[in-house]
Structures are given as C-alpha cells and as structure tokens.
C-alpha cells in the first residue's frame, strides 16, 4: 500500500463533523504528501478547542495512505481516535495500526 506513488490526482478532502458525542474526521482521497500535515493541522485545530469524548477518523473514502499518513493515523489512534474503514485494504491497515498500538506504546513527537 505504502509503496504506490501518489499520482497527479492526489487530493485529500478533510471534513469535520462535530456533535455533542464527538468529532468525526472524514477523509476522502489520498493521505500522502502535504495532506498529512493538513490532517495534522486540522486535528490540532479541532482538538485544542475543547475536550471531546470521542474522535473517529472515517477512512471509508481513503484510496491511498503512504508511510507518513500511516504514521499519523497510528499517532491519532494512540491519542484515542477510533479508525473506521470500509474496504478490505483500509480494514487491513486499521487492523495493523490497532495491533501495533497494543504492542508498542509511546508518544509520537509532532
């Protein structure tokens, strides 16, 4: 998954849905390149304003994740975010992240 090179259509749409129960980060497109730091920025913007009981990262519209993106998702997961995937590839990625989180704990320096 991470070895594929993002093509010219690389774009990631980040939508935030806030509710009393928490925030949903809906990501659509390719989580790679400059969009990784965009997601990171959005995360900080959304989470610094208040405590949210639950943060979900909806990956059902994500078609590609590179190594940096994967690292960010892992970091978000360690911070308590639930990762939601719908297709097989993304489910695999989420499984790996969840397993790794259980195995190795430690803060990611951003």
């Amino acid at each position: 998954l991470a070895s594929r090179v993002p093509t010219f259509e690389s774009v990631l749409k980040i939508s935030l849905v806030s509710s009393a129960s928490g925030i949903i980060f809906k990501l659509e497109g390719k989580l790679a390149g400059p969009w990784v730091s965009e997601v990171e920025r959005s995360w900080y913007q959304a989470t610094t304003n208040g405590e949210h009981s639950r943060i979900t990262v909806d990956l059902s519209g994500v078609t590609f994740v590179n190594a940096e993106g994967r690292e960010l998702l892992s970091w978000m997961h360690r911070r308590g975010a639930a990762l939601k995937a719908s297709d097989y590839t993304m489910k695999c990625l989420v499984d790996q992240i969840e397993r790794n989180t259980q195995e190795q704990a430690g803060p990611r320096r951003l």
Partner: protein
Amino acid sequence: MSSGSANLMSMPESDATTACDHGHFERCQTLLEVSEAIAVHRDLPALFHDLAQRLPRVVSFDFLNLVLHDAARNVMRLHILETRFPTAFRQGTERPINDSPGGLVWQTQEPLIINDVKAETRFREIMDFLSEHNVRSVCVLPLTTAHRRVGAMGFGSSQAGAYDEDDVEFMLLVGRQVAGAVDNALNYQDAQESHRQLEHERDRWRVLLEVNNAIVSNLEKRELFAAISAALRRVMCHDYISLALLDQEKNRLTLHALDFPEGKGIVKEEMCEGVESSLPGRAIVSRQPLVLQTLECEAARNSEMARRHIAEGLKVACFVPLINRDRVLGTLNVGSKCADAFSQEDVDLLVQVANQVAIAVDNARAFAQIAELKEKLAEEKLYLEEEIRTEHNFEEIVGESAALKRVLRQVETVAPTDSTVLIQGETGTGKEVIARAIHNLSSRRERTFVKVNCAAIPSGLLESELFGHERGAFTGAIAQKIGRFELAHQGTLFLDEIGDIPLELQPKLLRVLQEQEFERLGGTRTIRADVRLIAATNRDLATMVAEHQFRSDLYYRLNVFPILAPPLRERREDIPLLLQYFVQKYGRRMNRGIESIPTETVDVLSRWNWPGNIRELENVIERAVILSDGPTLRVPLADFKPSNGDRHPRITTLESAERDHILRALEQTNWVVGGISGAASLLGLKRTTLQSRMRKLGITPNK
C-alpha cells in the same frame, strides 16, 4: 499747463526762483523716494500703491495705471489701476494695441498727452469711459528698459490740460525707473510661475515614477491599486479608484482592484456590466478619456454601475481607457465626491498613469495565461504519463462476430460527430476500448482522451476531480487543481461507471453538457470547456431513472447515441481469436514461447459463459501462460467443466428447482434484479416478473 506751472507764473521773480528750486528739489526728492519704493516693493500692486501716495506731491493726477503688453495674445492688458474713485474698469481688461492709448505709446515709444478727453477722436470707447468718470486729461508714458518694451504707465486728471512738457519730462524719469521695476517684477513673476510649473511637473513625474515602481513591485492587484491611489492622492483630489477590465468575448466589463476607503459597500469588486450600457464602455468605444463633471447625467441613469457610484456619493468621475499595443483592455476609473475635481491637467496625468497600468494589466493577463497553460500542460503530462504506466494495449479490437461488427459500425457512424455517446454493457465487455475507438476515429484524436472512473473516486472528491477546485475550497484544498473537464478541453472525456455519480452532482454535470461551462469548486470564474463526452455503465440507467436513483434529464442528455457492448457469450466465435491474441500478448511479456493451443482448450473455453467477459478471459489466459512450461498452452480445464454433481443432479420438485435457479442467478449478479446485468436479464425475464416469482417463492433480498 500744470497746476505747478500756473502757481509759478503768479509769483514774484525771486520767489519764483526759490519756488522753482523748491519744485526741482521736490521732484528730485520724489525721484529718490520712487527709487527707494522700487527697492522696497517687489510686488507691483504694492509699488503702484506707494507711487500713488508719493507722486501727487509733484504731479497732479486722479488715477494712475499700468498697462502691459501681452506678447502671446498681442493685446494691451490693464495690469494695475490706482484711483480714489469707484470705477467699473477691472484689472485684466484687454484692448487691441491700436485701440488703446497705452498701445499707441508702446508702439511709438513716445509720450502721449491728451489735454481734452472729450475732444479726442481716437480711442473712442476709452475716452467715453474716462469722460463718464470725470477724467479730462491724460498723459501716457512708455515703460521701456534696455532689453524690452514692457508697456505703458498712464496718469489721468479731472482737470483739462493738466500735463505739460515739464511734467512729461519728470514722469519719463519716473517711468524709466518704474519700467525697470516692472520688468524685474514680471521676470520675478515668470520665474515664480516657472518654478511652480517645474514643481508641479516634478510632482507629477514623481507620481508616474511611483506608479511605475508600484507596478514593478506589486504583483497583487489590490496592493498595486492601493499604492497607485496613494501616489495619485498627493497631486489629485479623488476618493475612488478602480479598474474595469474588458471581457472581449462577452463584451462585458468587470470591476477589479477597487480602492475606495470611504465606500459604503454599494460598489463592489467583480460587478459586471455590458460595454454599451456602462460609462467606462463609452471611453472604451471612443478610446478617449471621459470626464463626467456631473455623474447624474442622462447616461448614468441607464447604467446600474453608475447608479451605484452615485449612491456612494461620487459626484465626478473620470474613465481613462487602458490601451496597450492598440488593444483596449479596460478602463482606469477615478471618482471624487468634490465637484469639478478633475482638471485637464489631471486627465493628462491619468492618461499617462493609465498607459503604465495598461502595460501591467496586459503583462498580468499574459502571465496568468502562461501560468494556466503551464499548469494545464503539467497536469496533462502527469495524466499521460499515468496513462502510459497503465499500458492500454487497446489499439486493436479483436473479433469478427456479427455482434462486434454491429458495434463497430455504430462507432464509425458516431465518431466524426461531437455527439455524446452512452456505452452500456456488462462488466469486462470492453466499454473503454469502444470509447477509445470513438476518440481515435474523431477529429479530436490529436487531443487528450481523459478517463474518469466515477466509481473509483470517493463521492466527496468527484466534483473536485471533474471540475477542479480553487485553493481553500475545502479543508485539504491546499492548491488550485484543474479538473478533468478542463484537462479534456478540445478532447474527449470518458466517464466510466456514470451510474455511480452522486445525485447531487448530476445537475452540475448536466449544465456542463448543455452549456459547456462550469466553475471550479470554490471559484467564481466561469470556465468554458469544449469537451466531447462518452459515458459508460454496466448498470441499467433507465431503471435507475425509474427508481429515482438517476436524474432523467441527465439520462436523456447522455443517451443521445447509445451503444450496447455485447457480452462475450453472445460473440462466442470471437473467443478463439481473443485466445490467440492474449496468448501472444502474455507469452511475449513473460518470455514464454507458446506455439499451440489444444483444440479441446479452445472448445471448452468457447462453451464457457464468461460472466466476467473479456476481462475474465484475459485473466484466465494470463494465469495459463504462467502455468505453461512448454510450447503448449496449459489451461486448467476442470475449472470450466460442469462438476460431476452438476452432470447428474438430484431430481427435486420443479418449484424447488426454480427457486434454486433464481437464487443462483441472484447470487451471480450480486442480488441485482433489474438492469442489463441483473438477474432478470440473466434469466430472460422481465424485472417485474422475476420480482413476482421471488415473492411467490419466498425469496427476499436479505437472503
């Protein structure tokens, strides 16, 4: 005779001598005072006022004037008039040289004495005027220096014959000194005027230099106009400045780069108006600056933009055409809330500023065009590189079946037209190959064939993918992006899996198809794209329309020329040819020297139903080539033969068999009932008939 002379005649001789000496002394004294006054006063009115106080001691007069020659207009002009009496004569009054006593004296350089104004036949108008003001006699003296003839100085008295030769002699002495003073004063005035003029010109050149610097250093229009406005404000009273840029295609003007610090927001940027109805349009048509000292004129009433400017409180406006290389690009608009704000000199300066701005606007346009083309080329290059990576070996359509030939005839018919084509067919039947064939046979073949798989792009991104987006259009839109429609300009856009396009996006797609124009996501600029659309789907759009899953208007717009790609089971005679083609293709790629395909293999594969159509066949052959280690193709034929269980199936009830058969069809079609690839089609039934049977047999979709 003068009063001084009359007094002398009535005196005894010794007294007369004394009086004469005294008179002479007085005149010398007065001359000295005149010299002192000249030294003190640089200002002519002040000097003549002083002279009018001092000279009556030695010369009798009721008025004293200074008339100067105007070389530019060749007239004599009254410059100063000193009198105790009220008069209607105004400073600045001009007379022709020949019709003025001063003019005669200036011409002849001889003093002129008119002892009786009423008896004088020359200069009738002036004489009548003098008579009316009780002037009886006049003495006029030339004012001449060593360098030039300046004009004349006149004395007037209410007594007839007030001036004699002695007086003239004395006044000529005074005149010589005054001439020098007047010359100096005029030179000083000229120098002052030249200095002022130079300062003025310097200020304006400085403004032009600042405008130039602003143009060179500010790429952003708003900053540029703030800088231009600040520079202009120092030399010209104005409250408002903007650019109206001309869209040649639409013959419209759009307001840009508005700098209006005290504006109420009634006039806004991006406002548009037709050239004919607008005031800047008049400047564009005439190619001349247009100054409207009263904005509320007849023309303004017909213009919405002008009405808004009036509502903002602007009273005066100046519109200067922006012309570069003989091309009108728009206008520079300057407005003021003060009446009579713009002089001709201001307009001249604005023309020079407009010339600079026109170069900047033209350069900015060219730059934007180059940047856009560059970006488009870069996108096109990336797209084509990706196309090359995807390896489309679809140049040849393999097969000779009647079904395929029918499709190819349709392709040949529709390709040269620009009509929209809708290709329908099961998955793997080669819809993209047909689309590429249409493109390659069309007049657009030299341009790009752009493909979009609507099902493969997340629905939230599809709009951006098709139409592009501006930077900041949504979170994550970190740069401007050109959409596939723009990329396919003058080419062909192939929308695969059109049935998967979200309902909310369908109206925008319909608009592009109908009007060939759209806006990028988050953008306001309308973009025109000349695109030929080919759409494809394996879903039954007609059923989707009936079930409100697809807009009917879009469906009818797409379904201009429908082509049905036949499934492989309907062109079985093409299977041997396709086998051969794929064996060669993968044999070459994998460096396998496969020379023969067993007849049994050809027979078995030709009998197979191929639900995945050509794609399935291709994958089977690729696998077979991998497995073949000799010159003969080895296909695991067991996968394509009915199993033993299938050969002798257990006898069940007809109803049970029907139920199982329908279930198998539903499973094979992923529980899709209707449509070309649905279970009803597979079973050769109408959708409604199948649904009725399913109800009867207790088959529900959740099973």
